[in-house]
Amino acid sequence: MSNKTLTLMMGLVAFLILAVGAVFLVVALGGSGDDDSQPADGSTQKTPGASGTSTGSTAKICESKVLIVPGDEPLAPFDPILVGDESTAAYIVEIFGGLVTLDRNLKVVPDIAESWTVSPDGLVYTFKLRGNALFHDNTRVTANDFKYSLERAADPANASPTVKAYLGRIKGLEDKLSGKATDVSGVKVVDAQTLEITLAKPEPVFIQELTYPVAFVVKQSQIEQDPRNWTRKPIGTGPFKIVEFSPAEKIRLVRNDRYHLGAPLLEEVVFELGGGSISTRYQNDEIHIGFVPALNLKDIEDGKSDLSKEYVPVPQMAVSYITLNPNQAPFDDLKVRQALAMSVDKASINDVLLYGYYRVADGILPPDMPGYKESVSGFKYDIDAAKKLLSESKYAGNFPRIILTYGGSGGNSPETLVAIQDGWTQLGLDVQLQAVDSAALLREQRRGTFQALSEGWIADYPDPGNFIEKLFGSDSPLNYTKYQNADVDRLIERASAEPDDAKRADLYTQAEQLILNDAVTIPMFWPVEHTLIKSCVVNYPSVSMAIPKYRYIDIDPTK
């Protein structure tokens, strides 16, 4: 090897050393400088490098009236009658509208209907439509559009999964759904501005059910012209129009300037569907809405963090729970169910494992639900009493294996479930966790073949019946375990016909207490979405349900 080769080699070595050294220098400087200036919670950017970009982009995302938020991939097409999941409904309610809607306080308020009257027997609803309600293509919305939309929902060929549950009380709807009739006799167009809906049976919550997407109005001419692809750019009546949907990437909604309830303040809402590191992106001013990492919750709640002033807790109108299937051994024994309900230490699971992220659920109905009663309560944690109950069980000494099934996402260990397993194992039971993907979970639920299942329920509309009747009524299709309690059924029956809200709520809470005593469900937590909102975003409605909320929001660069 000649000298020249060696010279060349040394050159290369020098280059490599320089390159590697430079990288290390950057790492070292960046790392140490940052660590020194980090506050204890480690949640803000204070390094020279970071603040440079971060002030620049703060200004940037607060300058325009474009809101960038993390979004969920819609699971259904943008067709109101096909939506059954929260993530799709969140987009549907912004794009479409119906006769009535829910406002920020979850009160039913007029949308396209200006006003309505209910006949004294509670059967006939007469809606007066507003004159200025327009579709996104600037055509007027008439009563005929509603008749078309409701009948379309009831058309068996369209296979709406939700029409029966929400609009099933409309007279003649079942006939259309089963193919016995060609139209829905209970929906009548009086004139272009007047719609009359007749129910087969009075139902006080009917007006609330009309806020659900399946009752929304759709544009007949668009659907007929392009039956297959109209949902790509649907023409609705909502505050926003959809301009872009790239699956797994983003959804862009732009303002409907002629929205009849007042044009939204934002020009555009961008939902980022990519996931990725949302917290980091929020801190780097790339998105307007973020979520508090569990570890940092205490500091942020206590006001010890710079992020405290951007912190908005959004209590979810939802509950997570463990279902014990009374048709499967050993849960056909009430004592076993009660013993298991007593041996879940929810408080310490929440405090220790979840860093206090949720609220411990004493009952089924979340506190934000109208009709919530604090007096309703499930079993308290008491492992000794549980052991005693078990020893009295008919399975004593011979317990079958218990499988707790859950929908697993990713490789993360479900700490909460491991803790539940741990509690039950302390009773001397053989408890196994079973992770299944979401589709298999649905199958298990539907067939009712599971023993114990970890699941949750989010309110569709703010009425206790949405929880009590839908999940535990013996003839509800969602009562997968076929749980049956005649007293509960009687209370539900009375409640669903009770027009007085307070009385109805009272009946439901009575039923709730009975269900809890039966221990077919162990309510675990009422979730809270610990949201971070950039200070330039004003009027963010802290409502967890799928209601049209982006029309209230504004971006104020001065804040």
């Binding site: 090897m1 590191s277 990492p293 220790v352 490789g411 993360n412 803790a419 199958r443």
Partner: protein
């Protein structure tokens, strides 16, 4: 892309140094020794994990402190827990030892059930026999190699996920295995079933091409023309030529096989908790924010995996230098 590059790097590594050989071999041997040491430690840790847990104060992999407090969770390294604890307060060192066990079992099963043995056997057969056997093997290989493996492995593991529990109960109830072990065994089988069909193609191709080139060599042709038996040629001339390459393939493959399990478990499609696996351990620590708050959750399980992978690859390289017969004949 990396997979293809990895497949091809083997023959290149077999190329021989002609100068500085002494120095190089020495360095190589040192590297080989270091790699071997890492592998031995890894295997000892995995194999003796239950013993270690039994005779030392080290808590078991699923032993949780009672009562669990926030301070005991995700705790950094301390004298009580040398590598810290995980989110449930379990000792991370103990879990890593058991994860090493998982890795060892899995790689062993894949190698034995045939990924690489099939590769070697079929490659020899195809290369030496030629004719329609060669065509058949290569075409089957072409079919399997042509399939994008990632999505199919994902689909296979995802498809059977919901059945894992039932299978494992059947297995556990009918054998001496505990439910936990049976579940892990079923998950192994699914992973193996998803990996083996795709694992042999690369190595059999390499083996075949080496066999072809060896057959072209003068000494083999001479032996053939002198009427040496097939068996003699195969064992005397071909196999020694193929062996080093195959050893490289096996040792390089060990790392890749282990990584396949780790990746699938990371996605929640392989070994699931409470069985310890490097994939799930890493996934618990693999977030920028988690890393910021608790770097030990990521580093503690990641470093053994990296060393294991690296050690097998380096060992394979070093073995080539030592085993390559042509290195002496050609000089």
């Amino acid at each position: 892309m990396t997979a293809i590059v990895a497949d091809l790097q083997a023959p290149a590594a077999a190329e021989q140094p002609k100068r500085w050989r002494m120095v190089r071999t020495m360095v190589r041997k040192k590297v080989a020794m270091a790699a071997l040491a890492v592998i031995v430690v890894f295997y000892a840790a995995g194999i003796f994990a239950p013993v270690i847990v039994a005779v030392t104060p080290l808590p078991g992999p699923n032993e949780q402190p009672r009562p669990l407090t926030i301070e005991l969770r995700n705790a950094g390294p301390s004298s009580d827990h040398l590598l810290g604890t995980d989110a449930l307060g379990r000792d991370l060192l103990s879990r890593i030892l058991y994860a090493a066990r998982t890795t060892i079992l899995f790689t062993f099963v894949v190698v034995v059930t045939g990924g690489l043995f099939i590769g070697l056997g079929l490659g020899l057969l195809a290369g030496y026999r030629g004719g329609w056997i060669d065509t058949l093997i290569m075409r089957i290989g072409e079919v399997l190699a042509g399939v994008p493996t990632l999505i199919l492995m994902l689909a296979i593991t995802a498809a059977f996920r919901s059945r894992i529990t039932q299978f494992s109960f059947d297995l556990g109830d009918n054998t001496f295995l505990s439910t936990e072990d049976a579940r892990a065994a079923v998950q192994f089988l699914i992973l193996v079933g998803a990996s083996v069909p795709f694992a042999w193609v690369g190595s059999s191709r390499i083996v075949r091409s080496v066999v072809l080139s060896i057959r072209e060599q003068a000494y083999v042709q001479a032996a053939e023309s002198m009427g040496a038996s097939t068996r003699r040629i195969l064992f005397r001339h071909v196999l020694p030529g193929v062996m080093p390459l195959w050893v490289v393939g096996v040792s390089g493959g060990m790392g890749a096989i282990a990584m396949a399990e780790v990746s699938l478990s990371f996605l929640g499609l392989g070994i699931t908790p409470p069985t310890a696996s490097f994939g799930t351990l890493i996934s618990d620590g693999a977030g920028p924010l988690t890393f910021k708050n608790n770097p030990h959750l990521l580093l503690a399980p990641a470093i053994p995996v990296i060393l294991f992978y690296l050690a097998w690859n380096l060992l394979g390289d070093a073995l080539v230098d030592i085993l390559e017969p042509r290195s002496t004949t050609h000089r």
